[in-house]
Amino acid sequence: MDGQSQTMDVSVWRGGEDGDYQTYQVPAYESQTILDVVSWIQQYEDPTLTYRFACRVGMCGSCAMMVNGEPRWTCRTHVRKVLTDGAIKVGPLRNLPVIKDLAADMDPFFDKWVAAGGVHTPSASRNEPIAPVDPDGDDRVTASAGIECINCSVCYAACDTVAGNDDYLGPAALQRAWTLYNDTKHDNRAGILDAVSGTGGCHNCHSMGSCTFYCPNELDPMAAIAGLKRETARSFFRNRKG
């Protein structure tokens, strides 16, 4: 720590949908994260500031916010990386309703995970022998590419197609669908293709790539959505795979 000699101007969204930014003077510390800054404001300036966090180490996916206009996981975003002219702007996640201050309503985001067929349907019960899965098999490698998603909604906030189309399922839900589609232990592959080829489905994606660009875990939802486009089209022209 280099003491509290320096401060920065931090603008934070206050209120609901029709709220506004309020600026706070926050002391600058060494190795400070955006979540540290928000927590400092809540602890020393205004205890009514509402925001979400849990693990603080980039595992739980609950602290995502807009930082200087970009969606970021705030617990792993260092102030020195994003500080612009001694100031930072922190707001609630884009493309989601604002509950209060920095807490966005995640319901639409998670409802779409279910709508995209994201609930696992087992192909065997616990009474049957465990089917072996080759970790190096093509299907498994493709499925494994998306399993590190922490449901933070950064991709959902980054996506301009979501911004323009309320029905669009969004990158995270579609990537989950693609993961399950490639999971040999999932019993409802045809159901996934039905779920993702409707009005708000994968074919709405314009391949802008903001999901892949902003994903904090360096996943590639855009490639997953491209996979779904391919498989839905293939099943349209032929009989379904599997």
Partner: protein
């Protein structure tokens, strides 16, 4: 609400693809209109062709060829991304599309000046 900063290569490739598509859609009716002059009013076509020799018009044609090339290359990139089972670095492909467009339109430009 805040708008996200979007100036990453693939987003710019998306914008370029849309803008070039709209510009080409606006150009085509004019193009067909000028071609129709060959049948309806050959002397007006000749006047237009004289006008088209002006350096400024040649420069505009350079832009036109660029739009056509970038739209073609960008469209091929999208089709490759969505139809081939690979996930090559999309940034490089987008840059390749622009590079190809610059090469093609640049070649055209050097030929007409």
């Amino acid at each position: 609400m805040m708008r996200p900063a979007r100036a990453h290569p693939l987003w710019l490739a998306f914008v370029l693809h849309r803008v070039s598509g709209v510009a080409l859609a606006l150009f085509l009716p004019l193009h067909f209109y000028v071609l129709s002059l060959a049948l309806r009013a050959p002397e007006r076509l000749d006047n237009f062709l004289t006008f088209a020799e002006l350096p400024l018009v040649k420069f505009a044609e350079f832009g036109l060829v660029f739009l056509l090339a970038v739209h073609t290359a960008g469209g091929l990139r999208l089709m490759a991304m969505e139809w081939l089972p690979w996930s090559a670095p999309q940034k490089s492909l987008a840059a390749g599309a622009v590079g190809f467009a610059v090469l093609l339109s640049g070649t055209f430009f050097l030929q007409v000046i």
